[in-house]
Amino acid sequence: MKEKMEQIKFRVQRYNPEKGDNPHFQEFLVPCSRGITVLDGLIYIKENLDSTLAFRTSCRMAICGSCGMLINNYPHLACHTQIEEFCAKKLTIKPLPNFPIIKDLVVNLVPFFETHKSIKPYILRHDSEEMENPTAEFCQSHEVMESFLQFTYCIKCGICVSACPTSASDKQFHGPQALAQCYRYCADNRDDGEPERFPVVGTDHGVWHCHLAGACSESCPKGVDPALAIQLLKRRLVSRGLGSKGRPKATTAQPPTQSKPKVPYPEFTVQQDK
């Protein structure tokens, strides 16, 4: 498939609850060439072939996380997936599994966001005086930030939850996204919220149902690696369970005790008038 146009068959799962039918497949022929993404193909279908096709899309550059779909039985972001990479004349597009379907390729992400909220994804501290009237910034060294920076890149697209085999069978499992974000906040040394978060995730249906299948990290479109975050969270839970106290929390930075030496003003390079 080079610059010339080829007809690719898109087999899209349709489901309209108002018509009362079951999910079924519909086929479309879409002209594609090098550089066309799956999202471009779906927009072509919606503009030219069948305007009742429903799907979510927003940024078209893999940063908003709206367009997650199952393409040829593997979850991808539709805007981030070239049609050429499949080397096939036929693509099967289904909505993301492990979420309830609302219509066509649109899934219900409300339980996903509720689970994310249940692990309190914000900094929790006990010195409310400093939080209300901040006097200075908190000290956080570069090493501490590097220990959780990778997990802050999550775009909440839901692809890891649809790849996880435990999420597929266990409805009460929090999912790799919520557990990785729980670790991101517990590892941040500005945060003191472990006693509040651990009873939520440290249960049978929480962290301990993860068995390291690694499908979440493999399919993550932003390289966030939730599997590593979950194993580090287990390590933290075990060390708290065995009695270790952990690193001290960040304090505010001290104001500088001496001002820096003045840099000497450079010499003039142009002759000055006296």
Partner: protein, 148 residues
């Protein structure tokens, strides 16, 4: 506007048997589960044989042993030995990796993305190598004894 009830779409326990396009670690998870349940099933038969048949004296025991020396049962015993060596070594790898020892540090994501499991694939391959060696040792013993 009519309120619609979303259609449930969970993949269910089929993910415990087949994993499609996913990579090695997901199939190791499936095998770990299957070998665990298989050894549990074998354990039920093994405990009845070594308690009920044992306590009833020599003739019952020898009758049971001659019934079980059928080559089909010997093949089954070899499968149990293979399942045990896989489950044990994969369990060692899981203990080390789930406690965060063989996983390495978080790395800022730079395209092409890789994850900790893929970076530390060598340990997984070493574990599979040891499993294959153990299976060959058990097989050698099975052959040397003339399938006894």
């Amino acid at each position: 506007m009519k309120i619609v009830k979303p259609q449930p779409n969970n993949l269910g326990p089929v993910g415990w048997i087949w994993a499609g396009n996913y990579k090695l670690e997901r199939y190791l998870y499936i095998l770990h589960r299957i070998t665990g349940l298989g050894i549990l099933l074998f354990l039920v038969f093994h405990l009845t044989a070594t308690t009920f048949f044992r306590i009833q004296g020599e003739p019952v025991w020898n009758a049971a042993m001659s019934f079980l020396s059928n080559p089909l049962f010997k093949a089954g015993e070899y499968m149990v030995a293979v399942a045990f060596s896989f489950h044990m070594l994969n369990g060692f790898r899981l203990i080390l990796q789930e406690l965060g020892f063989l996983m390495g540090k978080p790395v800022p994501p730079i395209y092409p993305y890789s994850d900790a499991l893929r970076r530390k694939r060598r340990w997984t391959m070493a574990m599979i190598g040891i499993i294959i060696i153990l299976c060959l040792i058990f097989f050698y013993d099975l052959v040397l004894g003339g399938w006894q």
